[in-house]
Symmetry: C3
Subunit: 158 residues, 3 copies
């Protein structure tokens, strides 16, 4: 029976998202089933910058959508961000070692069949609309996340 | 045999505490046993603002108790805190979607029989007294936490 | 059959490293097998301040090695760091309760046979050389980490 990895992606930080997606891609290559449940700041990773909308949103939800990162490449580092300088330095260091940027790992995960779930409560509170996300995202509840996690071999909170 | 969820609550941040307590409440509603082990900054969530004391504390312990958040509603956000503005914005957005504040989830967890443990080492170092916490808290060691965690189906570090 | 604990050490923060190493030491005392996989900022914990080198490094890698913490005692706190004041306060509070500093827990883990692994991708990107780390470190891939984690009873992302 295949193994199952479950990741609750809570953080909206470039380096943490990179760690999570590298694990997700690697696990799929090992034929491990992978579920990622994006909650709170993790949802920012799923935004498609070309599909942002202000319709059907409260004033705060509009503001929130405007001031927060609009997809993977806009996420800040978890430390040493220094107004973006730290991030540019990390991206250059990754390039020097032929490590692709975050978006490549996100696309890899999508192609390899990682299951993408968005947390309903977070989506509702932040006011995001389903069409603002990449198409693979299915919106589920905390209960559905827990059912999947409790049956997985490994659960991480990132 | 019922499933068991074990959460090591390390962070003292509003949004992380919210994530942890939403999971704890939901798991209890699914008849999953839930243990929460509060260590380091996580202890701040267990403080009862009305029961603060300065007795039997060293100077640093008194200072620590005064400058740190005095319970759930004083915890800062993990990001976008902006001196409390980000937090007020989040609370308003939660209200707009009829999501109750953190204290309601804490009280829900207490009523639903989530087991509340405080980390002995953290309590000793920070100088907190047992009576400063909500009454359900039992102070245990890292070894007791590990025994429980190793027998759980799912362990998260939040 | 003995139980297995697997910790992915992602953070390079004093208090998080302390939590992880206290758990590692305690688990070993309970005859639990312990694997720690140091990735991203977690690698900073493995640096031996006396073995820093600038050889065979790109300009950014040299800069990175210079500006980042050079071992356990240089790691900042995850919060309340206040330019090091918060850290000195915590260290004094630990001393008052006879809790040894982080390095003691790291050395304890090394003596007790905790397995120390460094993440190959992180090591390559940051430009660290194997000899800059404590000698117990073995460099492995994400796939090898996952193999070990999927067979463990408990996995934490710290």
């Amino acid at each position: 029976m295949s193994k199952k990895l479950n990741i609750l992606m809570f953080s909206g930080e470039y380096d943490k998202a990179l760690a999570a997606l590298i694990l997700a891609n690697t696990a799929r290559e090992m034929e491990v089933e992978v579920t990622m449940f994006f909650a709170f700041w993790g949802l920012l990773l799923l935004r498609d910058p070309g599909k942002m909308t202000l319709e059907d949103k409260t004033t705060f939800e509009k503001m929130f959508g405007i001031v927060t990162p609009k997809g993977p490449e806009e996420l800040p580092l978890s430390r040493m961000n220094m107004g973006g300088l730290g991030e540019r330095m990390l991206l250059k260091m990754m390039q020097d070692d032929k490590v692709p940027p975050l978006t490549a790992f996100l696309d890899g995960a999508r192609k390899k069949g990682v299951k993408f779930y968005g947390c309903k409560l977070s989506v509702d509170v932040m006011g995001f609309k389903r069409e603002e996300f990449i198409p693979e995202v299915e919106i589920i509840t905390a209960e559905e996340y827990l059912k999947d996690a409790l049956e997985s071999n490994m659960q991480l909170f990132i």
